[in-house]
Symmetry: C2
Subunit: 230 residues, 2 copies
Amino acid sequence: MENEQYIPYLKQSILFQGMSDTNLLEVVRAGRLRRVRDGEYFFHEGDPARILYVLVEGRVKFTQVTAEGEQVIVRMSGPGEMFGAVAALGDAVHPASGEATGDCAALGWRSDVISGLLEQFPRMAINVVRFLAGRVKEFQDRYRELATERVERRVAHGLLRLSVQIGKQVEGGILIDLTLSRQDIAEMTGTTIFTVSRTLSKWEAQGIIESGRERVLVRKPDALRAIADE
Amino acid sequence: MENEQYIPYLKQSILFQGMSDTNLLEVVRAGRLRRVRDGEYFFHEGDPARILYVLVEGRVKFTQVTAEGEQVIVRMSGPGEMFGAVAALGDAVHPASGEATGDCAALGWRSDVISGLLEQFPRMAINVVRFLAGRVKEFQDRYRELATERVERRVAHGLLRLSVQIGKQVEGGILIDLTLSRQDIAEMTGTTIFTVSRTLSKWEAQGIIESGRERVLVRKPDALRAIADE
DNA sequence: CGTCTTAGTTGCGCCTCCACAACGACACGG
DNA sequence: CCGTGTCGTTGTGGAGGCGCAACTAAGACG
């Protein structure tokens, strides 16, 4: 079965920590692999949620749209991360849209199936709780950040978060390996494309970053960290 | 045992939904009741987390302090709500301080005890997951709010959230029954005491609210809702 | 290789909101 | 009743950042 090829990989995911190989095998077999091509969606905001996913390839961008039609990027997720959980395990509808950035593959479990699995494997339930707890903490921190910090520091924080989450060490710095427009950065940090552009230009002049069309290379992460932490 | 008096009450909490009376009794017996007086703290930001609580009396205010010493109110919780979970089940330290607003009582379980209980009662684990999922959604929404909305709308949203969570229906409107200073509102909505004061004054002139020292009475919730939703 | 499209830059005016300061209102305690 | 402390209000100035517009740069495509 195709799913099984991902087992060695999934073993490292927080979600399956501490589970025996036989249990993990059973869980993986109960899931269904879904592929979503670049730019297409796993689900849209407001869709009824039926499936919990664990990403195994690619990256997913989660967005919300405001009443005025403004888009906000709530989060980006990389391989090994669970998503759709908030909706599939909680209420009913997805609180955000999930768009594939690059071709993606994810294992999915229907919500009734996952409920059964969680009852059967309490260890997995605890892992899910851990995962969500971490997510709550992350949002709390970002909330505080948005409430108190100026744009420049928020952008610095945003870039740092991205470079940790999905950055690639290359010679000369950390490359954020993902089509990342000014627009995206603005939507992640709660500002406008213009302000982002000005900020990045300034940093580029200072040699902190190097930026081109839809890409950012962080040359001096510590300088960025200094800006973020004031 | 003192704990047991809260059982009828706890049965209605999301956390214990769908559990049998005997199981609930066992869980409640495993917990320890803790009382915290007005203005004192359940825990402080950065403390190692050992206990998960369910509030049975009073209200708790969760705050974070920024590097510059500014305080931010992350959330307010009322009876029946779980707290401390993010830390006790997840990593290690509390992401925020928990201050009693009014005299409080809460049932607490040590983190090793709660882990055992969750393994023993999978239903409870699922309830915790549901709870956390809801919390993540709430923070996502508030994050988007802060990222895109102007102060006036954020304050409107904040007051509405409070009036739903802890408001009391009285003649003439919904009273937010909690010593709630301008400072508090500012810290909840990411603005300053001055801007809050101006905003509330305007609304008072329009007859939407009635406000005095450390209290707010919402006279026309629908007018407030209209402002919040533009 | 020229054209079209999309992303990014930068100047400028304006508006929200912050910051500070001075003052008024109310509660508390003797 | 008066002093003292805390909370709230309001005026004024200024800055940060938004919004628009005009321009440049870089791919994409035939």
